[in-house]
Every structure is written in structure tokens, then in C-alpha cells.
């Protein structure tokens, strides 16, 4: 968490300055008719019909974030209500098939585990102000944070420890580091709002699990200024997509979510005027038959586009976390004090507060049949500690017409659980109080406080259990020449080696037919050789 904000500031600022003019620079052709029109829409700033710096409501000094929101709401009367219906506000997601409530509020993942009892830190990534414990009122409109998504100045920052508020006065951050964070000029920020850029979304989504690239693997700060190799759509010198180009948003509901993935979109591309959903899926623009070669189009009934077109994820030096072992947390350094270390690439490797991590770059995905819906272990669900616990199980099967083979990141964890009640525990990690793990390094106390906040019984006995979490991979789409080639799957030990329920020419094939066929071929060869040899031998004898 500390790492992320420290790193993003210069990037955010540079991104905001550069993104707009670069956007249309490349395709502007010297065409007499269209050139003037193009120029008028080049810059987002020029394209907007409202200059927010001219609004009286914003021509004043703001002391707090909620004050700004109140000003926004004087014109955008419905905006807060809209946001309050989204995951960005509720941190909940309903499974339409099972009715299960998922989302950060309800699950325990195998990264930071759970925000419960740690809200003051975690809510730095909540699109709101003041969620510091269970008492947070989700109906108060002024507590919606407009600026975290709409700031274009790159100066608006939310630090852990402030329950979602930005800092309002100069603070030393991280504490005792000698570095200081200045409060943002909220007036300036409010007057310079705009559509979310890659920096806005990235300020949280690139840094999930508290470090650059740690969580997703297909999202990290390299997507601020990506080249074509990393992402063919976001390529800064090419199409220069922002996140919301694909994650098209209506009424603040951002399309696309790993909780409900449009895993098997069929039909033609979505065009203007068509009144239907346009999911954040490749097919929305490309259709389900995007290739010139029909043979390749045949693959789309079994494969997600991502399977071939994201040959590896974390295709950069930043990388992503492959595993997080919480059982190593609280282990002190040789001097008996908390310690931390980094790997050769400068990524976190060990921290007395959090345990050990393993990182990887250019990762080959693990492939799964997937229908877009994952079933999660929610807080309080029983586990079998003798087995690796699946935090989520991706739904789908080969025979399901709505399933496709998807690339996934599988994150391996080792995390605490209640040995008597057999469920994963919620722990109070962040904070300066006596039970916070990162302060007192006492698991039992930390779990005790966490479980109390989550409303669950804690037996007092805890252990560590292996867990796995499966993440569909969908970002970092490679240029077509970097897509998988045929033989990477169509071979005996290819990418899809473990995938069952589909016949792959070259990988599969009847063993006994091969045996019988080649035996008969061999016998035929022996037959003609023997016949021929006999002919040569007998004709020579006749010669005498």
C-alpha cells in the first residue's frame, strides 16, 4: 500500500499531461475535409461543453472531500445515488445464478485477506470517505468520492490510514520516512475534473494487494504508458485506449467484472444504434468471428479470445505475485526486530508484518474451462484444511455451451484459519492499537479482533492452510503476431495439456488406431521388400 502511492504520483501527473494531446496525434492525416473536424475533437478538454473552472460552485476553497462532493451534487444531482449502487461503493457483488454475495466485503482472499477491521487502511481504495468500521453509513451521499476517479491533475491522493480521505494537511508518509505528502489543492482538483484516465483506474487497480502488479498480473503501472508489445489497444502511440474505452460505463456502472465475466459472447460486433448490452468483452468490437481465416474462427466456440491473444501475462519487469505465505509473518530479523527484504528485481520478498512472497514475470497462464461465474468461499464458509482450499472455483465445463477455455492466474497462498471451527480467519493487521498484527505481531490477538469485527467465533486456535485463488486473465492483449501459434496447443505437451473434453488434432488421437495403422503400414513395406528381393534373387538365378 505504501509502495503503490509513492510510485504512482509522478506517473499520474505525467500521464494526465500527456494522454490527451497524444490521443489523436498519430491518425491525423492531412485530409483537407476531415482535418479541421478532427482537430476540434482531439483534446478531451476541448471536446467538453463545460469548463468546470467557470462554475461558481467550484470557485471556493474546499476543506474536505465531502465538501467537494456536495458541490458536485448541486449539478450532478443523481451521481452519488448512481455510485452507491456500484461495486466501487458497496464492495459487494451478487452472483445472479446462486444469489451468493461476493465482493471484498464478503470474501477472504489470499492476498491481504480481508478489509474488515482494517478499513482505515484498505479504504484508501474505496470510492468514498469515512468507511472506518462496521458503522459506515452507505446512504450518505456526500461521502461518495468523485475525485478519485475524475481527477485529472494527478495531485489527488488517498493514503492508507485515513479511511478513504485524502490528507488535508502535510504529513510524513510513510511515518518516520522523512518523506512528506502535501495535501491536494481541492479547488484546483475540482475545477479540473474529467473522464477517468488510465491513471485514475490504475491508482487502485494496478496496485491491488499493496504492491505494483501484485494482485492481477495483467494490470500494473506499465499500463500507464504501454507500448504496442504490452497492450495492442492501450498502446500509447497507437490506439491509446483508456480503461473505460472497453469498460463502457452507464450511470456510473462500469461494465466488466471478474465476478461476472462475459465469458462466452456470441454474435456480431456491437454497433451504434443497437439496443443491447455491450459487455466489456473483445467480441463487443471484434464479433465472435474476427479472423480472416475461417479455421481460426472455428476456435471461438471453445476458446476465449484471451487464451491465444494473451500468451503471457505480467509481460514486464514489474511482474506479479505468484504466492503469499502469511505463515512467515511475525518472524523477526536476526536482531529480534521486525525486518523486510526485497528480491533481486526490487520487489518485496519478506516482511515481518506480512510474510514471504514469490514473484514472476512473463507468466504462462494456467488454463481452465470457465463460464464467467466463480463460486467463492465467503466469510464463515467451512473449509477442509487437509486439502488446498479453493478461495474461488471457476465454473464451467467442456460440455457447457457457455464455457470457454480461459487463461487464468492462480495465486497460491498460505493463510490463517480457525483450527476448531474450520474456516478462514479475518485478522486485524493494520493499525497502531494493541491487537494489530503489524504493531504487536501477535496472531492470536489480531485474529481475535478481526473475527469479532466480522461477527464470527474464534476458538483461539489457529493454523495456516494452503489456498488457491483463480483469476481470469483479460488485459495485456498482445499484437496479433505475438498471439499463440497453432503448435503451442496442437502438440503433445502444449499449453492445453491438462484441458479435457475437447479434441485437439495433434495432441489427441487414438493410440490403438496408431498402433494398428503403423503396424499394417510396416507389414506392407516388409511385404513389398520381401517380394522385390525375391524377384531380384530369382531373376539373377535365371541369368545363369
Amino acid at each position: 500500500m505504501l509502495f503503490r502511492l509513492k510510485n504512482i504520483l509522478p506517473i499520474v501527473a505525467a500521464g494526465a499531461l500527456m494522454a490527451a494531446p497524444a490521443a489523436f496525434a498519430a491518425p491525423a492525416k492531412p485530409d483537407a475535409v476531415t482535418a479541421p473536424q478532427l482537430e476540434t475533437i482531439v483534446k478531451q478538454k476541448d471536446a467538453t461543453t463545460a469548463d468546470h473552472s467557470k462554475f461558481k460552485e467550484l470557485q471556493r476553497n474546499f476543506k474536505t472531500g465531502p465538501e467537494v462532493t456536495q458541490a458536485c451534487l448541486t449539478c450532478h444531482t443523481e451521481a452519488a445515488k448512481q455510485v452507491q449502487h456500484t461495486k466501487h461503493w458497496t464492495w459487494e457483488s451478487l452472483d445472479p445464478k446462486t444469489g451468493q454475495m461476493r465482493g471484498k466485503k464478503n470474501i477472504i482472499n489470499n492476498y491481504c485477506t480481508s478489509p474488515i477491521s482494517n478499513e482505515k487502511d484498505c479504504m484508501a481504495c474505496h470510492a468514498g470517505y469515512g468507511w472506518k468500521d462496521n458503522s459506515f453509513d452507505f446512504t450518505v451521499q456526500k461521502n461518495v468520492d468523485c475525485l478519485i476517479c475524475h481527477d485529472t491533475t494527478g495531485t489527488y491522493r488517498k493514503l492508507p490510514g485515513y479511511a478513504g480521505h485524502p490528507v488535508y494537511k502535510r504529513v510524513e508518509f510513510p511515518p518516520k520516512s522523512g518523506k512528506f505528502v502535501e495535501p491536494a489543492d481541492l479547488k484546483k482538483v475540482a475545477q479540473n475534473i474529467g473522464l477517468p484516465s488510465r491513471s485514475n483506474c490504475g491508482s487502485c487497480h494496478f496496485f491491488g494487494a499493496g504492491a505494483n502488479g501484485a494482485k492481477h498480473g495483467d494490470l500494473d503501472s506499465s499500463l500507464q504508458h504501454p507500448g504496442k508489445y504490452l497492450d495492442v489497444h492501450m498502446n500509447e502511440k497507437g490506439l491509446n485506449f483508456t480503461c473505460v474505452t472497453c469498460h463502457a460505463t452507464t450511470g456510473h456502472v462500469v461494465s466488466g467484472s471478474r465476478y461476472n465475466v462475459a465469458a462466452a459472447v456470441r454474435g456480431p460486433a456491437h454497433i451504434r444504434g443497437k439496443k443491447d448490452e455491450s459487455p466489456a468483452a473483445c467480441q463487443s468490437c471484434h464479433s465472435d468471428k474476427p479472423h480472416h481465416e475461417s479455421l481460426l474462427n472455428q476456435h471461438t466456440d471453445k476458446l476465449a479470445c484471451q487464451t491465444c491473444h494473451i500468451p503471457q501475462y505480467a509481460r514486464d519487469g514489474i511482474g506479479t505475485e505468484a504466492s503469499w505465505d502469511w505463515s512467515q509473518a511475525t518472524v523477526m530479523g536476526p536482531d529480534g526486530k521486525p525486518t523486510a527484504s526485497k528480491d533481486s528485481a526490487g520487489r518485496r520478498k519478506f516482511d515481518t508484518k506480512k510474510g514471504t512472497w514469490e514473484w514472476d514475470s512473463y507468466v504462462i497462464p494456467e488454463y481452465r474451462w470457465y463460464n464467467g461465474v466463480s463460486t467463492y468461499k465467503v466469510i464463515g464458509d467451512k473449509i477442509d484444511p487437509t486439502k488446498t482450499v479453493q478461495i474461488n472455483e471457476v465454473g464451467g465445463s467442456p460440455n457447457d455451451p457457455d464455457s470457454r477455455i480461459w487463461p487464468t492466474k492462480v495465486h497460491r497462498g498460505k493463510q490463517p484459519y480457525d483450527k476448531v471451527n474450520n474456516y478462514l480467519t479475518v485478522q486485524h493487521t493494520a493499525g497502531e492499537d494493541a491487537t494489530a498484527l503489524w504493531h504487536n505481531f501477535d496472531w492470536k490477538k489480531a485474529i481475535g479482533t478481526g473475527m469479532k469485527a466480522a461477527g464470527l467465533k474464534f476458538s483461539g486456535e489457529y493454523g495456516f492452510v494452503d489456498t488457491e485463488m483463480t483469476w481470469p486473465i483479460t488485459h495485456m492483449v498482445a499484437p496479433k503476431h505475438d498471439a499463440l501459434s497453432c503448435a503451442q496447443c496442437h502438440s503433445k505437451h502444449g499449453r492445453l495439456e491438462g484441458i479435457e473434453g475437447v479434441y485437439l488434432p495433434s495432441r489427441d488421437g487414438s493410440k490403438w488406431l496408431d498402433m494398428a495403422g503403423w503396424t499394417l503400414v510396416l507389414l506392407s513395406l516388409i511385404g513389398v521388400l520381401v517380394h522385390g528381393t525375391l524377384r531380384i534373387y530369382t531373376s539373377k538365378n535365371k541369368g545363369h
Binding site: A487, L513, S524, V528
Partner: protein, 202 residues
């Protein structure tokens, strides 16, 4: 005696063109097909698939012309099977050929194929071809199974199995066919005939 040098014109220009282009296509399809099947790596899977598909369509086109040719020239009658002298041919290949006995079948322009050959070609046309082309076309039109309403009855696995079985039959035919070209009065006599069209007869 000049009778040994008597020549008859057996294979017309089109027939020879058909034979050799078909031979080339079948060889290409076997090479690429067994690679697609996973028997070896040679061209690369993608290239093998493309070559196999292009060869298949080329061969089908060639056949469209050839079927037309067969009927306009009445040459299709060459493939009417007969059991006459089949036993003599079997005895010749099993014994006579080693004793320099005369071939019991004499080629004429009206009867180019010996009775065993006719049976072999009949088997090829009525069994191996339908197996390969039937399964091959289903393979090729995999994406249309649903719209054709056959997706409930077919699996790619079964289609591939039948197609591969047909391929093995074709390969075995190919081995026997190539070997039997060496059984003329000289080892290359039959091949020469297939190239020039002219057969030397006793």
C-alpha cells in the same frame, strides 16, 4: 523380330496430367495429414493444416474435371470390376513373377487395368475414398455442424478417428501401388508409360 517394339498409346495427355497431379496431391496430403495427426513435426502444425486444406480443395477440383473426362471419353468403363482371371493374376504375383512366367494379362487401350488392379481401384473408390472424403469434409466444415443439425450425432474425435483410419488405408494402397509399378518388363517400364503415355508390348 520387331514385335517387341510394338507400342500402343495407353494414357492420353489429360489422363497423365490427372494421374501425376493427383499423385503429388495425395503425397502432400499424407505428409501434411500425418503431421496434423501428430505423428511428427515437419512443416509446423499451422502450415500442415493449410497445405492439407489447399490440397484437398485442389484435388476435389481436379476430380470434378476428371469425372467429366471419364464420362465424356467413356473411360469410366476401365473401372468396371471383373473376377475373370483374378486367380491367374494372384498366381502370377505369388509364383509366376519369380519364374519369369508371362504376365497373364496383356494391356490394351480398351483394357488398361488388370483384373486385380480393377478390384483394388474399386475398393479405393467405393471404400477408402468415401471414408476419407466423408470424414474430411465433416472435419473441414466443423463450424457448420450446428447449422447443419449434425452436431448432436458427431464428435470431432470420431470424425478424426475415421479420417485417420482412411489415411492409413491410403498409405498402404500407396506403398503397394508404387511397388507394383516396378513389375513391368523392366522395373521402370510402367512409370515410363505413365509419363509418355506409350506402352511397349510384346
Amino acid at each position: 523380330m520387331n514385335t517387341a517394339n510394338r507400342r500402343i498409346y495407353l494414357y492420353s495427355r489429360y489422363e497423365r496430367f490427372w494421374h501425376w497431379s493427383q499423385a503429388a496431391l495425395v503425397i502432400l496430403m499424407m505428409i501434411s495429414g500425418f503431421e496434423v495427426h501428430g505423428s511428427y513435426n515437419l512443416l509446423g502444425f499451422g502450415n500442415a493444416v493449410n497445405l492439407h486444406t489447399v490440397s484437398a480443395w485442389t484435388l476435389l477440383t481436379l476430380w470434378a474435371f476428371t469425372i467429366f473426362w471419364q464420362f465424356t471419353t467413356d473411360e469410366w468403363r476401365q473401372y468396371i470390376p471383373t473376377l475373370k482371371k483374378v486367380d491367374a493374376m494372384v498366381r502370377y504375383y505369388a509364383f509366376g513373377i519369380f519364374r519369369n512366367a508371362p504376365n497373364p494379362f496383356q494391356k490394351t487401350a480398351a483394357k488398361k487395368h488388370n483384373p486385380l488392379q480393377r478390384l483394388a481401384y474399386l475398393a479405393l473408390l467405393s471404400m477408402v475414398s468415401p471414408i476419407i472424403w466423408g470424414s474430411g469434409l465433416f472435419y473441414l466444415f466443423y463450424s457448420s455442424w450446428k447449422s447443419l443439425g449434425v452436431d448432436a450425432y458427431l464428435s470431432l474425435e470420431a470424425v478424426a478417428f475415421i479420417h485417420t483410419a482412411g489415411a492409413f488405408m491410403m498409405l498402404i494402397f500407396f506403398i503397394a501401388h508404387v511397388y507394383l509399378t516396378t513389375t513391368g518388363h523392366t522395373p521402370t517400364a510402367h512409370i515410363k508409360t505413365m509419363v509418355t503415355g506409350w506402352e511397349e508390348v510384346d
